[in-house]
Subunit: 198 residues, 2 copies
């Protein structure tokens, strides 16, 4: 099983996992306790301040039931709602970008139960209107993160026999994202590679 | 003072306001109690289901202070936060679209106190990264809604002597949006006209 790297290199992920460089180990431990979401948010901050791209995270939708105005509009009854779209969207070189980030502890596959039908419908719309749509999938066990085009996930969701995508398939169809210090998750080369022919 | 219409027609807004057609009056009364936000949301629903464009409204950010997990994750202490970006973004013909909707009761101008510095910074970023950014401004007194390019608002915000944009200037620099039944606010011709050379 070989992995496509944005720079065209290929390597064997299992061998790589077994024989980590010092750099990888330090990033890995530096990353302990950091969630995928935090990594992406910090990377987006870096891309924005570097003048590269603009991605914003949609706030978690909350249904407000009761507000106490005697205490300066304090919300005293509300509940979280499921995101009906995706977590992230923004602009790069004028193009519309939309993606969902998911982390799984599963060793062998990405379970599609992680993805809601609403999100699939939303991503289909993004593609229909000419936008760029993908998933950033973290396999926590392997300490690897991939960028996978949404059309492949949509296809598996709608026509796949299994309700999951094997790890090996994500490695093959996706592009491995390099972890680093800043940006923590450098997904820009993958974006350039897949959608901007770089 | 003349107004640019997306179809190239021009007309005098004051005369128009005085001499409303039956159609205008019925739309106007049908519109009573409907907010600009509702009009835009319904229009976006229409555009989406018609397969034209995808615009989503960002949820209002809420800072959650305390959650009662004994009652199934009920939020019991939280407060509203100011939107640091804009209310709406999405995709049309692959391009990134971002806009803020504002309504004013002011007869003679659009006060820039309605716009936060964060929003200005965000819209500047959108333009820098090649996105399309604008305001939809409702003058409630005149019952008129305009689409105005963000670069003009940014310029007035940063370099204008007055902290407002005169109504006459919005009429001149912006494009009037037609009210209707469905879509309630047909801003697509203005979008096509300003950014897609239609």
């Amino acid at each position: 099983m070989m992995i496509k790297y944005p720079n065209g290199e290929q390597y064997h992920p299992i061998a790589k996992a077994k024989k980590k460089s010092k750099e990888d180990i330090s990033f890995s431990s530096a990353n302990r306790g950091m969630s995928l979401e935090e990594d992406i948010n910090l990377s987006n901050d870096h891309y924005l301040t570097s003048g590269i791209l603009l991605i914003t995270k949609r706030p978690t939708p909350i249904r407000v039931v009761k507000v106490d105005y005697s205490k300066g509009a304090k919300i005293i009854d509300a509940f979280f709602q499921k995101q009906s779209t995706t977590d992230y969207n923004g602009v790069y070189k004028g193009r519309y970008i939309d993606f969902e980030a998911k982390s799984t502890k599963n060793r062998s596959c990405f379970p599609l139960s992680n993805v809601s039908l609403h999100q699939i419908e939303h991503l289909k719309n993004v593609l229909n209107f000419g936008g760029i749509a993908f998933f950033i999938i973290e396999f926590a066990y392997h300490d690897q993160v991939y960028l996978l085009d949404a059309s492949y996930v949509i296809d598996c969701y709608e026509h796949g026999e299994r309700k999951s995508i094997p790890f090996a398939t994500v490695c093959e169809k996706g592009v491995l994202i390099k972890r680093g210090y800043n940006p923590r998750l450098d997904y820009l080369p993958a974006l350039d590679n897949l959608y901007f022919n770089k």
